[in-house]
Symmetry: C2
Subunit: 199 residues, 2 copies
Amino acid sequence: MTRWEPGARERLQAAALELFAMRGFEQTTAAEIAQSVGLSERTFFRHFSDKREVLFYGQEQFLQAFTDGMDAAPPGAAPLEVVASALREAASFFPDERRSHSRMRQSVIDQNPALQEREQHKLAGLAATVAAALRARGIGEPAATLAAQSGATVFGIAFAQWIRDGETRSLAEIASGVLQELQHLTYAGSSDRVSNTAP
Amino acid sequence: MTRWEPGARERLQAAALELFAMRGFEQTTAAEIAQSVGLSERTFFRHFSDKREVLFYGQEQFLQAFTDGMDAAPPGAAPLEVVASALREAASFFPDERRSHSRMRQSVIDQNPALQEREQHKLAGLAATVAAALRARGIGEPAATLAAQSGATVFGIAFAQWIRDGETRSLAEIASGVLQELQHLTYAGSSDRVSNTAP
């Protein structure tokens, strides 16, 4: 007999993260996670297909935030303006009260190469989704893929900074700074292009 | 008894690629690969730790090409100039006679999510190596990581184009074009920055 457990998913997620961080991901079983919050293994598997899934749950909403952000950009916006809009919306998906959760999750992933590969695959999937949305706006290749992957790069760097110990700025603020740095970097590096446009 | 087989590694690689492409990666065993070129399973495992390794052999030389390219950039070069130099050297690692091999390898990887994750992990490792080399040149963060990841992005997009059917340009030529496109893209997208510097 199983019954509906209110808040079971959130309790399982919090418990899993703590056990993964304390004992290691490999050393923790789904049964132990469930048991630690007084739930059955069966309840665990009604919410998650496996223990890895606990760490990657919510990916659809995350992608949706990016997509919503792109939809908010005016028609005809330059590719990187669309990406900037996506980053602003995605950042709102990580309010400051989520920072310690995200930090703990990252420390678990950093300790496990297979989880790292999965995380990189997730960021690659994000870039593919953004590139498709840019192409749907009429932006050609390679501009669409370049802008999308640059957006994923900016997000990744900003996110890593956001969860750093002692960091207090919001993710949106950090992401905006990293995006500006990218623009500065590529402009500063384009000496050929600059000299070509000189008389 | 095992003995040294001249060219065994290359024969195993070619045979593996063909079997992976024909039957699928999962459906092919190390023993079958070895057998198809008249070698023993034992010989296979003297050259490769597993069948996945056949697809990722040569990664150190690939990383070394990037590193050599960065070393060739003059001291004080802008981050993206260093990356451009790395791309030129890395492109020489893929002469046109390797194109059909690379194309077949990619088709195998595209059909297998675990191999895709490994490939993305490889590109992430490349970016980390390049970022470390940029920091060693005195380039700060996030500029070093941004430039390194942008380099990996440009390489990935150029490589995908290079192995496209009907493409005849060299990888160096394509990569140079994609890098220029990135500079154009970020400059065109930096309307805020431009208006900020206007009087």
